[in-house]
């Protein structure tokens, strides 16, 4: 169809190849920009690690949202609430038991990380069910209202004094309130390698990097490896959701998106399908929340503001709702261009022009331009406000997309909802007159 499709078709490896190619282009652009501006190796690798992290979390979240919105037509604008429930419940289960005099105000249940992760996912799924059960029976837009309200209720609940500290199974636990919750469980990467007995091997691997990063390479390598682990999770999400979509289950979801009454009139109990799809999506959002935050040392409720929900929506819209491959690409492009891009740009410019003083306000920034055509103050002011401008960029990108490619990168491409390929003509074997017997007639 378009030039993009031609390019996409020439990439070997199909959709996986397309994803890898886009990632390579993104990384190449980052590295080249860094090299061109004289970034250190440490800085470069750090940047790659952080970029990979965000590509991973946004791809996972976009995939989970694609199941709910792209496949089933369920309008969830409370994504961040499910992420919050995931990490908070995980922390509750896996933080070590409370000890007086320790750094943490409250403890957890002291169970292994994997138990906490599963508990966090289950909690997010159950919250999804509680919300979806009443809302799915109503009109579609009720679900939108209920989900965003839920995500704010969740945030305020974790902020509240009542849940700051309480007793559970006789242990002093809690969510820490507004001052946040210290995530003082074992470093997840360490726990991960230890479970395979590979921690010492990993430390050996880290020390190899002293060749290129002489001074304490571990944080940098940790970041890179954790990014790689996240990409592994993206692969698992992709595999799971592709199978979900390419099945009779996925076919019913698609039918619900197209016309729920028609699906119902064909004997499909659409409410059950919707709830299952919604719960699975919520569990995956919970896991994404866990993976996003469990290495960050602490969480505060105000991290979970609705803007993250909208970021995920933008990622999905860029990639194209309805396509799993598009969701991954959308997550990657969003993370690289709109989320990390402006910050990276600012870092680069700060490195290149280290002691440029940005004006303190908009007035001083603009007046030199007007009085003596000096654009520099406005330029530095803009760079200095890049975090705020991020949202402006996102808005512009959305407007551009809506005008030029409303179906996103791959949303125009329909992924077949069946466990087997559905071809346009009957398979040659069964085209013969007695072909029908090939199926299952012999077991009469």
């Amino acid at each position: 169809m378009s030039v993009r499709d031609d390019v996409a078709e020439r990439i070997p490896g199909g959709d996986a190849g397309l994803i890898v190619a886009v990632l390579l282009v993104i990384y190449a652009a980052y590295v080249l920009a860094g090299v061109g501006l004289g970034y250190s190796v440490r800085g470069q690798l750090n940047t790659i690690g952080v970029l990979t992290f965000y590509i991973g979390v946004f791809a996972m979240l976009a995939l989970a949202l694609n199941l709910q919105w792209g496949y089933t037509g369920l309008f969830n604008i409370g994504i961040v609430g499910f992420m919050a429930v995931g990490i908070y419940v995980m922390a509750l289960v896996s933080k070590p038991l409370y000890e007086s005099g320790g750094a943490a105000q409250v403890g957890g249940l002291g169970l292994p990380l994997i138990v906490g992760i599963v508990a966090g996912m289950v909690a997010a799924a159950l919250l999804g069910a509680v919300i979806a059960l009443p809302a799915l029976r109503l009109r579609a837009d009720y679900l939108a209202i209920v989900t965003i309200a839920m995500s704010e209720i969740v945030r305020f609940s974790f902020l509240s004094g009542e849940l700051q500290q309480f007793r559970l199974f006789g242990e002093r636990v809690g969510f820490g309130g507004g001052s946040g919750l210290i995530l003082d469980f074992t470093n997840p990467l360490e726990a991960f390698f230890q479970s395979f007995g590979l921690w010492d091997a990993y430390l050996g691997f880290v020390s190899v990097f002293e060749v290129i990063i002489p001074n304490n390479p571990k944080p940098v390598v940790d970041g890179l490896v954790y990014g790689a682990v996240l990409l592994g999770f993206v692969a698992v999400y992709f595999w799971l959701l592709k199978r979900t979509g390419e099945s009779p289950f996925g076919r019913v979801l698609k039918a619900i998106r197209e016309d729920e009454d028609a699906a119902n009139s064909l004997g499909k109990n659409t409410n059950r399908f919707k709830i299952k799809a919604f719960m699975l999506g919520c569990a995956l959002m919970g896991l994404a929340g866990i993976l996003w935050l469990m290495t960050s040392g602490a969480v505060t409720p105000n991290f979970f503001r609705p803007r993250i929900t909208f970021f995920v929506w933008i990622a999905l819209i860029i990639g194209g709702a309805g396509s799993n491959t598009g969701s991954v690409l959308g997550g990657a492009v969003f993370a690289a261009l709109l989320y990390q891009g402006p910050r990276y740009l600012k870092n680069l410019i700060d490195t290149v022009i280290p002691n440029a003083d940005a004006p303190s306000g908009f007035g001083p920034a603009v007046s030199p331009l007007i009085s003596n055509f000096d654009p520099a103050p406005l330029f530095f002011y803009t760079i200095d406000s890049v975090r705020q401008l991020q949202l402006v960029f996102m808005g512009l990108a959305l407007i551009w997309l809506m005008h030029n490619r409303p179906e996103g990168m791959l949303g125009h491409r329909k992924e077949t909802a069946a466990g087997i390929p559905l071809t346009g003509s009957r398979a040659s074997a069964s085209a013969e007159t007695d072909g029908g017997d090939a199926g299952g007639g012999s077991d009469e």
Partner: protein, 300 residues
């Protein structure tokens, strides 16, 4: 295993589509014929569908007003009436899409009033819509693959769990065979890969009928299946309906083209302002003064 009969369709179907209308009767359908499902209709009940005192008002409008009728098994029964007579509303009440204010619907001897649409469809009472409800962004094949009941892969866990997905794929292959039989029966193989949203109005109606058949129904409620269909396609659709009726399916057909109803139906029910005006054979209906009055007065 799912359905040994289904695989037989392929063999006779080749004959069927080669112009011969020799699809054998439903009574010996176990060995032959477009037997789309395992359980044939339960022939000892004479009237599978019975409607008693059905009422429905929308705000001030009374759409269905104490309607009572029954449909005889194995017939093609027409439900006629001028626009706004309440035919589509009656279908919605029967199939559970609307809840009646009063009255009962009995199907195969069981009270199904107020049951969920999917539950009613699973009992074998399946409808099509006046405005075709094709699933636009799904292909014809996907539309049809959706319809069969009891698909193993509709259980999410089975579709994703390695080791169990093999079962799902195996059944998908069987279903695809059945779907192709129906596609060839309706002679729509050239559009099998087309998105349903790109079909013509007539093709959509064919698709909807084919899809309804794949649910393995006992009785079909067709709401104006010929509206917007060109005459040659209408003729073919009617032929299919007659073939299926001969196999033992029961049809209730809404149509406001009097001639079509009179030529094709064994029984006719006339609905007027939400009430059953009369019912009888086409000849009786045509001779009925009240019906003529209703049609002339009701602005056909």
């Amino acid at each position: 295993m799912s359905d040994p009969d289904a695989t037989n369709v392929g063999s006779d179907h080749a004959g069927g589509s080669n112009g011969g209308r020799d699809v054998p009767g439903r009574t010996d359908a176990a060995s032959n014929g477009l037997d789309l499902g395992s359980g044939g209709p339960n022939v000892d009940e004479e009237y599978p569908l019975q409607v008693e005192g059905l009422c429905k008002t929308f705000g001030g409008i009374t759409a269905v007003d104490d309607a009572s009728f029954r449909v005889e098994r194995g017939t093609l029964t027409g439900l006629i009436g001028p626009n706004g007579a309440g035919k589509s509303t009656t279908f919605n009440l029967i199939t559970g899409m609307l809840r009646p204010d009063a009255g009962t619907v009995t199907f195969d001897g069981e009270d199904i009033t107020g049951q969920k649409p999917h539950a009613i469809a699973n009992r074998g009472l399946v409808r099509t819509f006046q405005i075709a409800r094709e699933l636009q962004e799904m292909t014809v094949l996907e539309n049809l693959m959706l319809a069969p009941k009891d698909q193993r892969g509709e259980a999410l866990w089975r579709s994703v769990t390695p080791g169990f997905r093999g079962d799902v794929v195996e059944q998908e292959e069987e279903l695809l065979e059945r779907v192709w039989d129906v596609i060839e029966f309706f002679d729509i193989d050239h559009i099998a890969d087309e998105y349903a949203g790109n079909l013509s109005g007539g093709q959509r109606k064919l698709l909807e009928l084919a899809r309804a058949l794949l649910t393995d129904p006992d009785m079909l409620l067709l709401d104006e299946p010929f509206a917007g269909v060109n005459p040659s396609l209408e003729k073919r659709l009617l032929e299919h309906v007659h073939e299926l009726r001969e196999q033992g399916y029961t049809f209730l057909l809404v149509e406001h083209d009097m001639d079509l109803i009179m030529e094709n139906c064994e029984r006719v029910i006339v609905l007027h302002q939400g009430q059953v005006l009369t019912e009888g054979s086409p000849d009786e209906i045509q001779a009925n003064e009240e019906v003529i009055e209703a049609y002339l007065g009701g602005n056909v």
